[in-house]
Amino acid sequence: MRGRFLTCLLAAMLLSLGLPVLASAAPTATLSAAFTPEQLGKRTTLHFGFAFSAEPGQVPPPLTQIELRYPNNLGIGISGLGLATCAPATLSELGPKGCPTNSIMGRGEAYTGIVLGVTPIRENAPIWIVRAPNQEGHISVLFYSEGSTPVDTHIEFPGILLPANSPFGGVVSIGIPLVPTLPGAPYISVIHLHATLGPIGVTYYEHVGGVTLAYTPKGILLPSSCPHGGFPFAATFSFLDGSEAKASTAITCPDPRKKKRR
């Protein structure tokens, strides 16, 4: 609390000095993805993340939109994740703790920042991914993030699952709201983010014969064969200043010789 107060005070002082607010233009992006475990034909958790470059002492422009493409034939729809839904109003008012446990699909962390004057202020903010009621006939998830410094706030934003052309199985279209900080100060920028979609760290509950049982959701089913070149991911990031950044990656196919040795 004291730290937050000092930070805000410092920010206000810097602003009152009229120092320029810095933000880099045209950032470059990197995308990462991995499966845990990575075994064909088995259930897994998907790890994904992205990061943006910026000039030293600066932060990327505020992010406004992400289009994340994921590989074809990834069994997300049969993962057993998101069996319940959380209404946006519930998430906004009560946070993820107010949502049904069986709506939690993943977790993560975002590293965000702003530059006030010449002072970069950065923080880590936890992220939750929850299943939401469908939007306009499309499967929908909600992302929830809460931060404490420099701005004590929480945001939730929707991701809509849309069809995509091969070799992708779908695209998650995510609109990111602008997060104001202090009067006259820039919006918060995302510097990097990583999250998981899958059963790692997720516990669900079911009622069986009047008893509530805890269980771990099955997870995303990987196909029994690996696509040529691995499992492809691609993303397009749009920023408030109108710039765009694209990134792609692929999860390499597991070495079949390793499987034979086991």
Binding site: N72, I78, G80, A84, T85, G137, L162, P163, L221, P223
Partner: protein, 137 residues
């Protein structure tokens, strides 16, 4: 068989196949057999106008797509379909279109288009599929 008779038969069977139209409304209860990624192999009984057994491969993605074979008393009916999932939670409803592209036996020349509706159980991967349309054969 004389050449004239053979020509007559070929004219009837090969060139101008007389088609019949059948208004069909059926329900299939499919149970999960196996999966690879988002691709499910399902099988189950169909009841209604064309009772029999159906085997289907369904890709459960942002949209549901798949192909099927229905084994009836008088032959098979094959085709493919596509549907948009609507619901959320354990039971996900969907609606779309089913296209019949061929078959065997009585339905060797089958073709047609039907409405495709149903539910998908995300817990045990069972489908209930309803189709309503006109089958030409």
């Amino acid at each position: 068989m004389s050449k004239a008779l053979a020509l007559l038969l070929c004219t009837g069977a090969c060139v101008a196949h007389a088609s019949q139209a059948l208004k069909a409304s059926d329900t299939a209860h499919l149970r999960y057999l196996s999966a690879s990624g988002s691709l499910l192999l399902e099988e189950g009984q169909t009841s209604g106008t064309l009772p029999g057994r159906m085997r289907a491969r369904v890709n459960v993605g942002a949209t549901f797509t798949g192909n099927f074979v229905t084994y009836t008393r008088y032959g098979t009916i094959v085709g493919h379909g596509s549907a948009t999932p609507h619901g959320s939670g354990t039971y996900e409803s969907f609606s779309g279109t089913l296209i019949v592209t061929g078959g065997s036996g009585r339905y060797a020349h089958a073709h047609g288009k039907a409405g495709l509706y149903g539910t998908f159980n995300r817990d045990n991967y069972a489908f209930v599929v309803q189709t309503t349309g006109t089958l030409l054969y």
